[in-house]
């Protein structure tokens, strides 16, 4: 299944990652980002990452937050463990996610 999506510049770069890396990042989003934001990204100690919670937050802002973290909060900087392309792909995922009962389902082809 393919999705036609309008993708911002910041997040488009992540789509160049090979599919194995993309699956790893989808897993990381669910499990490791999920340890604060919830496995279904509905929020926990950290805020919800569902599409309605991200309205008005540009891709570049999201990328910045993931890379550098949010001082004064529990959000750590991920740039030490993830590449810029990885982070682009995470931004792509959270801004283009489809939600099902069983959690996040991401269709990217």
């Amino acid at each position: 299944m393919s999705l036609l999506l309008s993708v911002g510049l910041a997040s488009a770069d992540g789509l160049q990652l090979n599919s194995e890396r993309q699956r790893e990042l989808e897993y990381l989003l669910k499990q490791d980002c999920g340890s604060c934001h919830g496995m279904r990204l509905k929020g926990g100690l950290g805020p919800s990452l569902l599409p309605e919670a991200l309205v008005g937050k540009p891709d570049n802002y999201l990328k910045q937050v993931i890379s550098k973290g949010m001082p004064g909060t529990a959000m750590p900087p991920w740039q030490n463990v993830l590449s810029e392309q990885d982070i682009d792909y995470l931004v792509y995922l959270i801004t283009n996610q489809a939600i099902t009962q069983s959690g996040i389902v991401i269709e990217v082809k």
Binding site: M39, R40, G44
Partner: protein
Amino acid sequence: MNNKVLAILLGLVFVCISAWARACDSQLRGSGDLGVVIERERGSLLVVENSSDQVLCRVEGLGDLSHASVVFSRDARYAYVFGRDGGLTRVDILTGKITHRIIQGGNSIGGAISQDGSLIAVSNYEPGGVKIFSSNDLSLVADIPATFAGAEKGSKTVGLVDAPGNKFVFSLFEGAATWIVDMSEPAKPTLSKFAAIGKQPYDALISGDGRYYIAGLFGEDGMALLDLWHPEQGVQRILPHYGRGQEKLPVYKMPHLEGWAVAGDLIFFPAIGLHQVLVANKNSWEQVARVELKGQPVFAMARPDGRQVWVNFAFPDNNWIQVIDVPSLKVIKTLDVGKGALHMEFAPRGEKVWISVRDKNQIKIFDTQRLSLLKTLPAQSPSGIFFTNRAGRIGL
């Protein structure tokens, strides 16, 4: 892998799982060597038995169980499961059936059972606060919003534990406070509030004797200690400045302060932003040592006899388990158990430990004397492991 192959593989996995996860039944038996394992993604739990290390059955339909936790009724027959989605479920582990289930909040984080066993308290992130239910039928008994001065919405609540006197104690993440709820008269809950305990308490524990409540702080160094025998003395800071002069490393997963990692006079805490556990003397509350480890500790759990402390780690080091020998304060074993080693639970008297390994879909059982693998059980994306011997223990 194409979808067809995946479907067939999943089918096979399912058949295998069905084969071993036979139904729990009501044959006459004790429940003292039983437990449950959370299967976080599937929204199910496994009822397990830790004498012969086997899975008895699977209970389905518990909702979103990421970060789920469990307390047991005092007869160790019912498991109360706190789900991330605000679900509170009462499971009869002897029959493998859900007896009651409610959605009590939007986003919850854990709970506790009262000293007399009659009340279940749940800690909520959304909408914040704590709700208290009857343990018999999960009907609402009290609703305690965690509102505090200067905030528009209620605080997330963390570190909820039971305490003697039919009390519950918890802390406010944004509110930087610790509150005690006295439920000795359930119709008339009484609150005692302690403000300004320190920035961003992220979790807490209570000592096994129910005297000391200690909240870990994320927003600054140290822990906030409340002596429940002397609440009039207020909250005092212990282990201040433990990270002084050291660069804080990123914390990719919040540590947990479950249970009381005490061995003799020593108590073990995960450091925040350091790859260390802190060791304090529990009489003076002074730091006596720190032990260098592989990563950011998540759980530091003492074997029931206190001779060893087992530690697991946050991403990206969550494949490691390290074992600290208490007399020497040295790491005596480093185990690579596989990615996503999320939780550990000791057999009641500590001769073995069960470890959930999420990414391998396994529970690994280790002999704690030989430090060797005894057995591996299949489980789907397992996280928390809870044995029924918790039923009789304060704070668990």
